[in-house]
């Protein structure tokens, strides 16, 4: 009993710490990668290769003056940043980041590398992720600022719209696995199949559900308010969107929530489509992290490459392209699954 509790607490601590560290260093990675793409240098001053930049940024934000505008709804204004950051972290509770381990023989029995495995894992992630919209909506509303309000409204409309396609895009995978548990989904992707007897291809759902993966990825970009779907915080038209009025650590919390959400959707995509922790030779968490970071790199690449959508284009793309495509994908997969 005590051992289980200690192991659980250690796992929670490790996941939480790793998540915070990744969030902090994602800002550095993003600046460096975009700088490379745009043939610039990016941060170089603070530490070697600017590696201490996130710490400097964090300290700067902590010591900034914490402004609360006079006409805001104080309670909700203070509540909103935490409401947006908490769901982003909770969702990680069910994501498996590795196979079982004995920690090089230190532990008496193998310990699975996930905080918990519930039989509605996928739904849990979607449910919790859908709560993140409250922080944004309430921040926009309570700021009592028209730019914030517009940003909040846009964001909630966008999240509601793309959640549908996102949910439908993974139904194909669920049909093939027959379980909502994320551990079962990873285990179903074990093994290798040979294409034309020549090319070894892992049994990842990326290859049996390519359409599903593409839809999921588009929706993930939209759900995390990333370019090219970053309309809620479009600088050129809405100042900074829903967090215009925020400063200091509260502003930082919105930023952390955005990056934590990115990591969550990338981790879910890894689990659902890229075989999770599965891979040869290297230990399982390394594979998991590698795949997540590859997806995060794709996110940044997209941001550096694509121009922003117009609002009507965004809505049209979600409702008239992605949703029918996701429905079609579901139907085809269902027929294929039934026919064997």
């Amino acid at each position: 009993m005590l051992e289980t509790l200690v192991i659980m607490l250690v796992k929670i601590g490790v996941v939480f710490g790793a998540l915070l560290l990744t969030v902090a260093y994602m800002t550095w990675v993003e600046r460096k990668v975009i700088a490379d793409i745009q043939v610039r240098l990016g941060p170089t001053r603070v530490g070697p290769y600017g590696l201490l930049q996130p710490i400097a940024d964090g300290l700067k934000l902590m010591f900034k003056e914490d402004l609360i505008p006079s006409q805001v709804d104080r309670v909700i204004f203070l509540l909103a940043p935490s409401l947006s950051i908490i769901p982003a972290f909770i969702a990680f509770a069910v994501i498996p980041f590795g196979d079982t381990t004995t920690l090089f023989g230190l532990l008496s029995r193998p310990v699975p590398l996930h905080i918990t495995d519930i039989d509605v894992g996928v739904l849990f992630v979607f449910g919790v992720a859908s709560l993140g919209v409250y922080g944004i909506v309430l921040a926009g509303w309570s700021s009592n600022n028209k730019y914030s309000l517009l940003g909040g409204l846009r964001s909630s409309a966008q999240l509601i719209s793309y959640e549908l396609s996102m949910g439908l895009s993974v139904v194909g995978v669920l049909l093939l696995v027959g379980s909502l548990s994320l551990v079962d989904i990873v285990k179903a992707q074990a093994g290798v199949s040979w294409w034309f007897g020549l090319l070894p291809v892992p049994n990842w759902f990326l290859f049996s559900q390519p359409v599903g993966f593409c839809i999921y990825f588009c929706c993930a970009l939209a759900e995390t308010n990333r370019a090219p779907f970053d309309l809620p915080e479009a600088e050129t038209e809405l100042v900074a969107g829903f967090h215009t009025e925020y400063s200091s650590m509260k502003f930082a919390m919105f930023f952390m929530a955005e990056y934590a959400n990115m990591i969550t959707v990338a981790a879910l995509a890894t689990t659902m489509f890229l075989g999770g922790w599965l891979g040869p030779v290297a230990p399982s968490p390394v594979w998991f992290l590698g795949k997540v970071f590859f997806l995060l790199f794709l996110f940044i690449w997209f941001r550096a490459t694509l121009p922003r959508f117009r609002y009507d284009q965004l809505m049209g793309f979600g409702w008239k392209r992605l949703l029918p495509l996701a429905l079609l994908n579901t139907a085809v997969t269902a027929i294929a699954a039934v026919r064997g």
């Binding site: 909700i76 739904l123 849990f124 979607f126 919790v128 709560l131 409250y134 909506v137």
Partner: protein, 169 residues
């Protein structure tokens, strides 16, 4: 332990439920309603409703209440006066009294103990309330009602679009 968890969640649900009704501002009402629903989702886990609790989070907290907040923000409704300061105080008194009577009536019904089960309920099968069980029932015994729900949703969708459209041409 179970009783303790239940007591905590029930307290949250009860207090925030009360605050839904007495808040002046619709936004605060909505927030407390979300809290009530969250606490109820926790209670559903105690009741072995493994599928329903997560559906509660997704449908109620994730979709319905977002829609509420969306409309409140869209219409930009400002604080009204406190409900108990309204001119029709007598009507409110009668309503509250009637509700108390209703509550007493329900309490008497509960006290009759028409279900004889031990505290915590009878032992149930391992797959009680899981997604698989719910899914299998929905597609066998309850197939017809399940199909009807799709018609209800379709009608609601069309109705909402027709109503919210600015001008019918």
């Amino acid at each position: 332990m179970e009783l303790l968890i239940f007591a905590g969640l029930a307290l949250v649900a009860g207090v925030s439920g009360l605050l839904v009704v007495v808040q002046r501002h619709a936004v605060y009402s909505a927030l407390f309603l979300i809290l009530t629903m969250g606490a109820l989702a926790g209670i559903y886990i105690l009741l072995d409703a493994h599928f329903v609790w997560v559906i509660q989070v997704i449908v109620y907290a994730g979709a319905i209440m977002v829609l509420f907040l969306f409309v409140i923000m869209l219409l930009d409704i400002r604080s009204e006066q406190a409900p108990w300061a309204a001119p029709d105080r007598g009507r409110i008194l009668v309503a509250v009294l009637l509700s108390v009577v209703l509550l007493l009536e329900l309490g008497i019904a509960v006290a009759r103990r028409f279900v004889l089960a031990p505290a915590g309920g009878p032992a149930v099968a391992r797959n009680f309330g899981t997604t698989q069980t719910v899914g299998r029932l929905l597609f066998t015994d309850f197939l017809f009602p399940f199909e009807i729900t799709s018609i209800i949703l379709l009608v609601a969708m069309i109705g909402a679009m027709v109503l919210a459209k600015k001008r019918l041409t």
